[in-house]
């Protein structure tokens, strides 16, 4: 059914369609996937509840106090960041919809106002991070610029044990496939160097004994990741009577 409400279209709901060799997806005759919820699944909620940080998820009764006070949602105006909604999607197991926010979830700045205000004692901040972890471990989410930045940041930090801003910027630009003009970089870099706020190249800080520390850290991270990945339930089966 062609739709007129463009606001309803989000990239992953557009059906790609070709008519007689002409790609008509995403234009005036955009098609929407069915918006009907056809199944309920306790799998995600059970997994989240089983994690030490996620066990309060089942208390949530969707009052919206968390979202109302959320500094991202309300103060910063990032409407799609809605902790109440993330919790609900996890509770009813609506994975397809939840996945749209796989990256958004990580924009939480952990101010913990939600935890402070929740009338039911839901540790909202921990719960939504656990939901984010579930999505990350169960895979399939498209990487967003924020995800790429996180990756660059982690690599950078693991490299020397301390942040090198210039290197971080270069890595991120490479991952993003874009390039800031050299003149602009030079101007910015020199200003920061002069004011003593940039430590890179010969001036870079180092963490003493980092190589040994790094091995331990990397081993631990790999182990943690493998353990958590193993705990994630299998991908959803088509709806139907359970065996």
């Amino acid at each position: 059914m062609p739709i007129v409400e463009k606001s309803l279209v989000s990239v992953d709901r557009v059906e790609h369609l070709e008519v007689e060799g002409i790609d008509v997806s995403g234009d005036w005759n955009t098609f929407l996937r069915s918006r009907v919820v056809t199944d309920l699944d306790v799998k995600i909620a059970d997994w989240v509840k089983g994690q030490p940080q996620g066990e309060t998820i089942s208390r949530c009764w969707q009052c919206g106090t968390c979202t109302a006070g959320c500094c991202l949602h309300t103060d910063y105006g990032l409407e799609e960041f809605n902790p109440r909604y993330f919790i609900y999607l996890a509770q009813i197991g609506y994975e397809e919809e939840l996945r749209r926010y796989a990256s958004t979830i990580w924009r939480c700045v952990s101010c913990n106002k939600c935890v402070e205000r929740c009338p039911k004692g839901v540790k909202v901040e921990e719960v939504i991070h656990t939901i984010g972890t579930y999505l990350e471990l169960s895979g399939g989410a498209a990487e967003s610029p924020a995800d790429r930045f996180d990756r660059a940041y982690t690599e950078n930090l693991l490299g020397r044990g301390i942040l090198d801003e210039a290197a971080l910027f270069r890595t991120y630009e490479r991952l993003e496939g874009r390039r800031t003009p050299a003149r602009e970089l030079l101007r910015l870099g020199l200003t920061l160097l002069k004011s003593g706020r940039l430590h890179t190249g010969p001036f870079a800080h180092r963490t003493r004994g980092w190589n040994r520390m790094r091995k331990v850290l990397e081993a631990k991270l790999t182990e943690d990741r493998a353990r958590r990945r193993a705990s994630v339930p299998a991908p959803p089966v088509p709806s139907g009577r359970k065996p």
């Binding site: 918006r35 009907v36 919820v37 056809t38 199944d39 309920l40 909620a45 208390r59 009813i92 609506y94």
Partner: protein, 345 residues
């Protein structure tokens, strides 16, 4: 003193009769069914909310008080067919299937109770057509007998939905009032199911959850400890799915603002409470005012909730509106006291 007549042998009537006997008044307890105990006994209620005590234990204690007391004359399978106001009290006619007699009574306690809403009247839910759409009271019976199976094939259901407010808060069936117990009993049933069968997924479709007062505790526990899920939205229709082997609940998830069509193995309707046939009948016999909802109306709901305003006629229990057993028991006590005072003076 002529005996005081208690009409109805449910929780309110049993409570009133035992209190009257304790006050030393001769008591005549009349029940239209062949047994005492009212709806809880009739439908084999399982555990009672919120303490999750077996109904048999609670009603059993009330029955014991009444049955062990020689001052209480019990008449089963008996109905009231006539009531005339005399100089002090009433002259009433009691009828059984084959006989009738006239008695003088000093005062009357009407504890004629409620009937469960007939869920067939919400035809869109398929009750009476689809065997796996069951009623509140039928699930109570299943839980009581420890036989949680689908009526259609005798299999254990994997996923059950409760639909709240069936025949309550609904102008389409002419019942705009809240049944007060649908929420807590549905939650109690879901908890009971999960206690016995943790592998069964339980979903409750609601508009509001009205577990008022201290009952809220059971609601919270049902989420935290028993993992019961609550979906906001009223089911619009139930149809068959998957070749008729499952039920499809069509509704709107009003939190998502999306239509939902979810398959279930069993659907439980939280059917509401209506004034019983007996309640309507005694209202006419005694001329007790009836509210727009069909329940008896006390003269002053705040100051004197058990007084009808008619001389010597007192009210108790669900005859005056949907009520939980503890409230019915309390009102039975209150009505007994007021009736005793009236008869004594």
């Amino acid at each position: 003193m002529n005996p005081i007549l208690v009409l109805g042998g449910g929780p309110a009537g049993l409570s009133a009769a035992s209190e009257l006997a304790a006050l030393g008044a001769p008591t005549l307890l009349v029940e239209r069914e062949s047994y005492l105990g009212g709806n809880p006994v009739r439908w084999h209620y399982s555990l009672l909310a919120p303490d999750l005590r077996p109904a048999e234990e609670v009603i059993g204690a009330l029955l014991e008080r009444v049955e062990g007391d020689a001052r209480i004359e019990r008449r089963l399978s008996t109905t009231l067919t006539k009531a005339e106001l005399g100089s002090h009290g009433y002259r009433v006619t009691l009828a059984t299937a084959d006989a009738s007699e006239t008695r003088d009574v000093a005062a009357v306690v009407l504890a004629t109770g409620f009937d469960h809403f007939d869920s067939r009247r919400k035809f869109e839910y398929g009750y009476g057509r689809f065997p796996d759409v069951v009623d509140f009271k039928e699930l109570e019976g299943m839980l009581h007998d420890n036989k949680l199976v689908r009526p259609s094939d005798g299999q254990r259901p994997h996923r059950i939905a409760w639909v709240l407010c069936v025949g309550s808060r609904d102008l389409q069936v002419g019942n705009p009032w809240c049944c007060r117990l649908g929420c807590v009993v549905s939650i109690k049933q879901a908890v009971e199911v999960r206690q016995k069968h943790p592998e069964v997924d339980a979903y409750i479709y609601y508009m509001d959850i009205r577990t008022y007062g201290l009952w809220e505790d059971l609601y919270w526990k049902s989420m935290q400890e028993y993992g019961i899920k609550f979906i906001r939205g009223r089911i619009g229709a139930v149809t068959l799915a998957e070749g008729g082997s499952r039920l499809l609940a069509t509704g709107e998830d009003t939190i998502l603002s999306r239509p939902t069509e979810v398959p279930f193995d069993m659907i439980v309707l939280a059917s509401g409470m209506e004034a019983s046939a007996g309640t309507k009948q005694v209202a006419e016999l005694f001329g007790v005012p009836v509210g727009p909802e069909g329940f008896l109306t006390p003269r002053l709901t705040d100051l004197n909730p058990v007084d009808s305003g008619l001389p010597g006629v007192f009210l108790a229990g669900a005859a005056t509106g949907p009520k939980a057993i503890p409230d019915a028991v309390t009102e039975g006590m209150g009505a007994a006291l007021r009736a005793y005072q009236y008869a004594r003076d």
